[in-house]
């Protein structure tokens, strides 16, 4: 254990030291090879120009290598594997895809993912917006926001344990120690096994992600609401607009762009949701999603072809958002 801590510390030092030496050393090297000081004017200008060609690549080089190895190459390789057999050796054409279309588990996962996509981003955005508007009006709003925001720092696994305890069911006649069943009992209902009642259990799992992500939506939307010029709201108030009219006709249109950003960010997160399914049900009782199904095929099924195919399906759903983002950024950015 001490050796492990020591090796971690040494790695940090080597990693940081290595970076510093690389950037400093490479920079020194081009200064030496193409000197710009102490040479004649024309040569100095020539060398400065050459330095200008090379130096940017020294700066982006390490990042570019890591991005290529860890993201760009794997994305291409995953595409390749999706047309290959379980070990990734022989070409099988579209048979992984036709397997997916016919597989009951896969269709269930697609259905559940769609359900998640419909409910979670909408619920988070709506609740986030409502809480943002309400907390802006009261003196203890900051504290309230901070507490609602807190789950964002909690891991999905931790959140799953927290909610498993909320949903805990004990047989008839025993004291219910899960607060949800205790409440149901208090109001005269019968305790339920929430996570293993098909179809509805999906919603109980979604609650966990909504609980985590509402704070995110709230913070972003609250900042957008504060950005609305005071005058427009004042003008509307003088004109006799009701609070609801102000909310729907003045505030919402002005923060429409931000709502879209929040919605898409949560959408991408939903597509990747894995930990919650794994820890709460492991895909049983018709709760599987694509990300968990892929993990299943990667490790338990050890079929890389099918795993890769499921990854591609997740990716396909992300592509429109990706294109929209890039277009948005290049339109705004241009220079920088």
């Amino acid at each position: 254990m001490t050796a492990q801590i020591l090796s971690a510390i040494i790695t940090v030092l080597i990693g940081v030291g290595g970076c510093v030496i690389y950037f400093w050393g490479a920079n020194r090297l081009i200064d030496l090879v193409f000197p710009s000081r102490g040479v004649s004017g024309a040569a100095a200008i020539d060398n400065l120009r050459r330095q200008g060609y090379i130096r940017p690549w020294l700066f982006v080089g390490p990042a570019l290598i890591i991005l290529t190895v860890y993201l760009i190459y794997p994305a291409i390789a995953t595409f390749y594997y999706s047309f290959h057999d379980r070990g990734g050796q022989s070409f099988v054409g579209l048979s992984n895809y036709s397997w997916a279309l016919g597989d009951r588990e896969f269709r269930q996962a697609i259905f559940n993912n769609l359900l998640w996509l419909l409910v979670v981003p909408a619920a988070c955005t709506f609740l986030g917006l409502v809480i943002a508007v309400l907390t802006d009006r009261i003196w203890w709003g900051t504290i309230a926001k901070s507490l609602i925001f807190m789950p964002l720092a909690i891991s999905f696994v931790g959140a799953s344990v927290i909610w498993k305890f909320v949903y805990e069911y004990r047989g008839d006649g025993q004291t219910q120690i899960g607060i949800l069943n205790a409440l149901v009992q208090f109001f005269g209902g019968d305790p339920q096994v929430w996570v293993s009642t098909p179809f509805w259990n999906n919603f109980f799992l979604m609650v966990i992600l909504i609980w985590i992500q509402t704070g995110f939506a709230m913070v972003i939307l609250s900042s957008a609401l504060r950005g609305i010029p005071e005058e427009t709201i004042e003008a509307a108030t003088i004109d006799g607009a009701s609070p609801f009219q102000i909310f729907w006709k003045i505030m919402i249109p002005q923060i429409w762009g931000t709502i879209a950003v929040v919605w898409t960010t949560i959408t991408i997160l939903v597509l990747k949701v894995f930990d919650i399914i794994l820890t709460m049900t492991n895909g049983q009782w018709n709760t599987n999603t694509l990300a968990n199904l892929m993990f299943d095929w990667m490790f338990r099924g050890t079929d890389y072809g099918r795993g890769a195919t499921i990854a591609i399906v997740i990716m396909l759903a992300v592509v429109p958002i990706m294109i929209w983002n890039i277009r948005q950024a290049t339109r705004e950015g241009g220079g920088h």
């Binding site: 200008g52 700066f59 990734g88 344990v161 820890t279």
Partner: protein, 384 residues
């Protein structure tokens, strides 16, 4: 914001109530595991955690001593003893001799059992049964009682979890993974971000577009090829495929697009005049970066560090793919997932382990919330 809505007393009151309701719904689940982690094991299953502060009461049955224990005193035969064992913190409130009426007699009173036999049971569980004639037979008498349990808080669960459930070791493992995986990407991303913001070179626009595209590429796209690559590299060099170095680099790779994106948009916003006057003074790009850009970028570096720290600490998927599942390498999230399987019903262990797991992120979150929020706003509002 205008304060026009809710001017009326009821309107304003309603807002307070609504926000309070949201706050309660959002905090109760976490409060539940915190409270439970501090309760004694048998209390967690006996009553809901929300009753932890109140004195719970329950009914139970016990056996009095048999005839063999009787003593003769003043012409009476007595059986004496205590229903509770030593160290029992319960208080007996009532007792009874029939299962249908377990709390028929208040504690301390003398119950008439017929034939001159009397029974007195006191608060502390001690009892005296007396009879004018000698007790016979060795069947001990069964009686019923109601007892109240005082709140019982303990740090015992934490001791168990840290020392014998492997959470302590996993805590160290999580730190081992998280700290280097947070620090390594920062410098690499900062240099790249500066080049993308302030240096002109062919392919720059394409690179920026690529990084924005990579921001949303799901992790799942990388896992299988990287797993194969790691196995290949491990076999080729005869080293283990699953190492800490491997996961540090993986987290660096997965964190880089966001790091470069976040840092670039901040560095690009630094005032142009500072850069230009430094350049006129003869400073090279390297000098400008180290002496001007890095110090000015501290807030955004802090934002990214918090993000990466939380993301790596809370990650389960990457750890399950790139690390072994033995004690040497199992991180907290993976351990917690394991405990959910092996200790499904032991809520004292699960709640305590979960709380240990979320302790560090919560501490980071509450102490550095300002940077966290700033990073969140910069990272999502502009680019989306």
């Amino acid at each position: 914001m205008a304060r026009s809505p809710g001017k009326s007393f009821f309107g304003r009151f309603g807002v307070h109530i609504a926000v309070a309701a949201f706050v309660i719904i959002w905090t109760i689940p976490t409060l539940g595991i915190l409270v439970s982690s501090l309760r004694a094991k048998d209390q967690i299953v006996a009553s809901g955690w929300w009753t932890a502060l109140t004195t719970a009461s329950h009914t139970d049955a016990g056996r009095l001593g048999g005839a063999a224990n009787q003593v003769e005193k003043d012409g009476k035969f007595l059986i004496m003893g205590n229903l509770f064992g030593a160290g029992d913190s319960r208080t007996l409130t009532a007792f009874g001799i029939k299962a249908q009426a377990p709390a028929e007699f208040p504690a301390g009173s003398v119950a008439d059992l017929g034939d001159g036999v009397t029974l007195q049971v006191n608060n502390d569980g001690s009892y005296v049964m007396s009879s004018p004639v000698a007790f016979e037979g060795d069947r001990a008498r069964r009686i019923y009682y109601a007892a109240s349990i005082p709140p019982d808080f303990t740090a015992e669960n934490y001791k168990t979890v840290l020392l014998s459930e492997g959470i302590g070791r996993s805590f160290i493992n999580s730190l081992t993974v998280t700290v280097p995986a947070t620090i390594i990407p920062i410098l690499i991303a900062a240099f790249a971000a500066y080049a993308l913001a302030w240096m002109r070179f062919p392919g720059r626009a394409l690179l920026i577009a690529t990084i924005i595209g990579l921001l949303v590429v799901p992790l799942q796209m990388s896992l299988i090829p990287l797993l194969k690559m790691y196995n290949g590299v491990g076999a080729f060099f005869g080293v283990p495929a699953k190492t800490y170095l491997g996961i540090w680099l993986a987290h660096t790779g997965f964190g880089l697009p966001f790091a470069i994106y976040l840092l670039r948009s901040y560095i690009a916003g630094l005032p142009r005049e500072i850069m230009e006057s430094a350049r006129i003074d003869g400073a090279s790009d390297f000098e400008i970066f180290v002496k001007i850009v890095l110090p000015l970028s501290f807030p955004v570096l802090a934002s990214f560090a918090i993000f990466q720290f939380l993301w790596v600490w809370n990650d389960l998927l990457v750890a399950m793919v790139f690390l072994r599942t033995d004690a040497d390498q199992m991180v907290l999230t993976a351990r917690l997932n394991n405990l959910l399987g092996s200790r499904g019903g032991n809520w004292e262990i699960l709640t305590t382990s979960a709380f240990v797991t979320i302790l560090v992120p919560l501490a980071v979150f509450f102490s550095l919330q300002r940077y966290f929020v700033r990073g969140l706003l910069a990272g999502s509002v502009k680019g989306g």
